[in-house]
Amino acid sequence: MAAQSPVAETAPESRDDYLLSWAAITQMLARGFSLSGRERNSCFLNLGEEQFADASAVSGFDFLDDGRALGLVDWDFDGCLDVWALNRNGPQLRFLHNRMGEKGHSLGLRLRGTRGNRDAIGARVEVQLGGDKQVKMIRTVRAGAAFLSQSSKWVHFGLGSSDAIEELVVRWPGGLVERFRSVKADRHYEIIEGKGELVRWNPPAGRVTPQAAEVEAPVISDLARVVTAARPLFPAISYEKPDGTSGRIDEFVGNPVLVNLWAAWCQPCLDELADFGRHRQSIEGVGLQVLALNVDEATADGEEARREKARRVLAELKYPFDSGTAGADAISALDALQMMNLGMQIPISTPTSFLLDDRGLVAVIYKGPVKVEELLKDVARLQGPPREWRNQAAPFPGRWVSPALGSEPVRVALKMVDGGERGAAIAYLRQYVEKARLREIPESKEESGLLSTPLEEVLFVIARLHRQGGEKGQAVAAFQEVLQMNPNDRKALLDLGHLYLRNGQPSLAAGHLETLVKNSPQNLDALSLLATAKMQMGDLAMVDDLCRQILLLDPNHATAYLNLGLLAESRQDFSGAIGNYRAALKILPTWDIALNQLAWILATSPEDELRDGTQALELATRLHQITRESQPVFLRTLAAALAENGRFEEALKFLEQAKSMIRARQVGLRSTFATMERLFRLKVPYRAKDRR
């Protein structure tokens, strides 16, 4: 189930698992699973002496509503505090009329500030009861507490069996203290700051007596007619026409079309298709096309048999419109579309229909059979401008403050990726970009009033998806498209830099990274990648500069130290190199590249004072434990360290292993290994060439 939370933020793998757990829980809730559900509200009765009894059930408060907010108020002025509750589930709103305090005396007060804030928030009220109990109670006038809740500002005191109030004290926020005696219980008073008197307040006459009634929320059904607030793009699914040729949704664009998914075993589907036939005239009258796609699973008899059966069924039903058969990939794409456009992600079932406007955008999703009457009304509403779409989607009128949300094609695409359909995701986003460029999709906020995803972002996601699939050329092309729209797009510049570097094209990387660094001189990732690029290009002076810049911004940047070490080595400054590698390893003690570079120098440097056989072996051993048999170069280093410590037999073994791993074209390594082997057989350690 849920991965354990990373205790500190340093371990990257456990953090990824943790993020995935959160994503998994969110997913499950979105699909209709319960979590700590069916829990009853609690009512704890104060028994005195800091003891409470659980009276949840007998109090009647223990509803199963996924309760959230509670507001207290003596609504009917009978002296008992009532409760308004707002819940997650239906019924969302409950007024709970409380009569538990009927037998006790009470007091209700409304305070008004004059010198301090008018609402008297912060005023402290004390009631001292007379009699032998000598009880003193305090209350404060408040505005907002608990969870998303605000109770009435009326102050309520329960007085028990005594109606003798010895003294009432009000401490106003500004410091004024007023004391009142001879206060009669079971009344309501208004107290105005500084006036020195309690003014009786009477509740209005003719109050309705609250009547108890059981209420039930409507039964939850998976049938729904959902008007989309931002008209998402319908994916360009392909299907087979009855004659076996391939059909495309594109062919229908220009007029509205209802795409209906049906199966032969699904009786409501068949009834619905027959109904469409009976209403042929009115459907054609409003210019609506219908495409019924059969989604029965293919059987052993094959596709042609499925087509034939569908044709037969439709003929029997006297269904007069277009039809076809769709495969699993089409269903998967439509599933992603509907799940990401509804609040609850429930897998697609039959019948499901999509009403597309004349641009191929989805205006309504019908889960369950469509009533033709409703369908015709929905077709009439298709002409509304984008600004109106979200109002059409809202079941009750109201006003908006925030701008309208766009359709967010990326969410649908990522859902497709989740379902293993990366290609379909890319195709969907490409289609979106094309349509946006042709103005068939409302794209700019000024025109449509919709906060749509900027095209650069969509293109960026396309590029990333190509990269994830190893399609480097297409990834580069897509990143370039982003840059055409915005030459300074930080994410694209960085990703391209990365890609070119991994492709062995450092000068192309450097070009983009330099632009990025110019715009964001403090972007560590950019500076670091640029340093690596410059290193590979041999532009050493720049590397030095960049690394020092990086270390000014982040003294713990291990890569900068590594690069400075590599730079020093290229300048034959080995003692400088050692210092930098040590610094890198202090930050990341298990970094294989740094371990390798340092151990090699310590084992093979021609300068006696730089060599340290013990340290070299320690580092090389650590390196080996981490990397095992993964890289011949690491094994080579271990062999050299062993040799420096006189352990030539072992050295030869590892060298042999390393030799067997290198490829024919690695001529340099081959010759080094040969030399090393020769020397070790002679029990002589290897020395790097002294190029000073």
Partner: protein
């Protein structure tokens, strides 16, 4: 021990420290269960619930800790039983079915009530709603219905994080009701008529917002004698000025520094006008190409949440963010859900308690600042033992022992699953024991912290007082429900109940 409290009586087992008895063997167990069921005989609507909150496997047996609740009613008389037991299970003869070998009752409580109407409080909503069409059409269906029927692009969310505010919008001293709703459904202003029934004024008052709304607050911000309205939406606050008759106009929009949840108001600097404190939770998902959510790390003590804000009232419904200059930016990167102002040290100024999810809470003591009129807050939660390391959802002040000092009740999440897992030896065996304890504390339940006076730490009396075992708790409030001078506690529970019956 026996308590009689006006129509309610409470019976408790003698000594909660030691088990009442030890029922061992078939006959004894049968006898124990028969005794237990006796008070329910003849009652109607009987409900029984068992909840396992700890499992301790041993060599040849398993011990479970169980919470038991029952209820039965009979016209005016009802009874509920609350108990905790330890049960020892062994393998049955068929080597598959676990069988009860022993029962140790650890605590037992019987609450009997005699109310003429049968229950202490009853749902009377419909009798107030005859003029409100939206009651049936919008408010009877809940999140499960709306999330299946609304386009996701209307900005709704299925968690049900929407609240209510009570306040008098038209100056007749009768409270009206503002209901916050998810994206795509209009918030509703229901105004109370003089007869106590409600009228829907949402549209004409100009507050029928379709934007996702989490909370709202009625406060007279300009001291002109009427209730203005502050509304917390997805990432911003809306200020609405009341024209005096219960109609509102937009007076400003303030961007929040995170996703705003609860709002609370007090005059922190005593300059005569009301200031606002905004609890910000996390960030709303930043950008679609980011591929990452903002999640709490580490889960038991996260400080990567969004900062809360103290907005000082400058008059004319304009506000300045003074969080940093008043010292409130201390320990202010938590996942805050609720805040409650109160003068807990009785020194004449308003202090602030903040309940945070995924970690520790804050108790900001309000002190004089350097210059006259200035204030400076100091987080004294660690020093006064009010950190309550738990997923906090709600904070409420009340003097529950009538000693003149305000005490604290905090809603947390009590998880049966959390308890079962975190107390097992296999849970986080390599972690520092103090961290294991933190996770265990995390799943314990609500907390009652008693104010013991001048600079003394608060005392957590949850275990001994019987108010800890909540569930996944949201709002909790102090209220003297039976008018016996003692403040009782109400807690709203339940996270997500969906159509699927197997709970995660």
């Amino acid at each position: 021990m026996k308590y009689q409290v006006q129509g309610l009586s409470v019976l408790r087992s003698e000594d909660p420290e030691n088990p009442v008895a030890d029922f061992k063997g078939r006959d004894a167990v049968e006898k124990a269960l028969t005794e237990l069921a006796k008070p329910l005989t003849g009652k109607e609507g009987i409900r029984v619930k068992f909840k396992i909150f700890r499992v301790t496997p041993r060599e040849k047996e398993v011990e479970t800790s169980v919470i038991f609740h029952s209820y039965g009613g009979d016209k005016g008389n009802s009874i509920q039983q609350n108990a905790t037991w330890r049960i020892v299970w062994v393998e049955g003869e068929d080597e598959e079915t676990p069988m009860i070998a022993r029962i140790f009752p650890e605590s037992y409580e019987e609450v009997r009530a005699a109310f003429p109407s049968g229950k202490g409080m009853r749902d009377c909503t419909a009798s107030l709603m005859s003029s409100v069409d939206a009651y049936e059409s919008q408010l009877l269906p809940g999140a499960s219905h709306w999330s299946r029927n609304l386009s996701q692009r209307l900005g709704g969310e299925p968690g049900g994080y929407k609240g209510l505010a009570l306040g008098d919008v038209n100056g007749d001293a009768l409270d009206d009701l503002y209901l916050c709703q998810t994206g795509g459904l209009p918030n509703r202003l229901l105004v109370q008529r003089s007869d106590g029934t409600l009228e829907d004024h949402s549209a004409e008052a100009g507050v029928d917002f379709l934007d996702l709304t989490r909370s709202a607050l009625f406060v007279d911000l300009d001291n002109d004698g009427d209730q203005d309205l502050v509304i917390a939406m997805r990432r911003q606050l809306l200020l609405m000025r009341n024209d005096g008759s219960g109609n509102f106009e937009e007076a400003g929009v303030l961007a929040s520094r995170g996703a705003p949840y609860s709002l609370s108001s007090a005059d922190f600097d005593n300059d005569g006008d009301l200031d606002l404190y905004v609890c910000n939770y996390g960030n709303v998902w930043a950008g679609i190409a980011e591929f990452e959510h903002h999640v709490p790390i580490p889960m038991h003590d996260a400080e990567n949440g969004s900062p809360n804000m103290l907005l000082r009232n400058e008059g004319g419904l304009s506000f300045t963010d003074v969080t940093a200059e008043t010292g409130l930016d201390q320990n202010n990167r938590r996942w805050s859900l609720s805040a409650a102002w109160e003068d807990f040290d009785n020194d004449g100024d308003q202090d602030l308690y903040v309940a945070n999810d995924f970690g520790r809470n804050n108790l900001y003591r309000n002190d004089p600042g350097d210059l006259p009129g200035e204030r400076r807050f100091v987080d004294v939660a660690p020093a006064l033992a009010t950190e309550d390391l738990s997923p906090g959802m709600s904070a409420n002040w009340g003097d529950c022992n009538n000693d003149g000092l305000m005490d604290l009740y905090v809603s947390n999440m009590f998880s049966g699953a959390g308890n079962r897992i975190t107390f097992q030896d296999r849970f986080m065996p390599e972690a520092d024991p103090s961290i294991r304890k933190k996770f265990q504390r995390h799943a314990r339940g609500n907390s009652l912290m008693m104010n013991r006076g001048a600079e003394k730490p608060f005392e957590d009396v949850t275990s001994s007082s019987g108010v800890g075992v909540g569930r996944w708790a949201w709002s909790s409030v102090f209220a003297d429900l039976n008018n016996d001078t003692l403040s009782d506690i109400l807690v709203a529970n339940g996270y997500v109940t969906e159509t699927d019956t197997t709970d995660l």
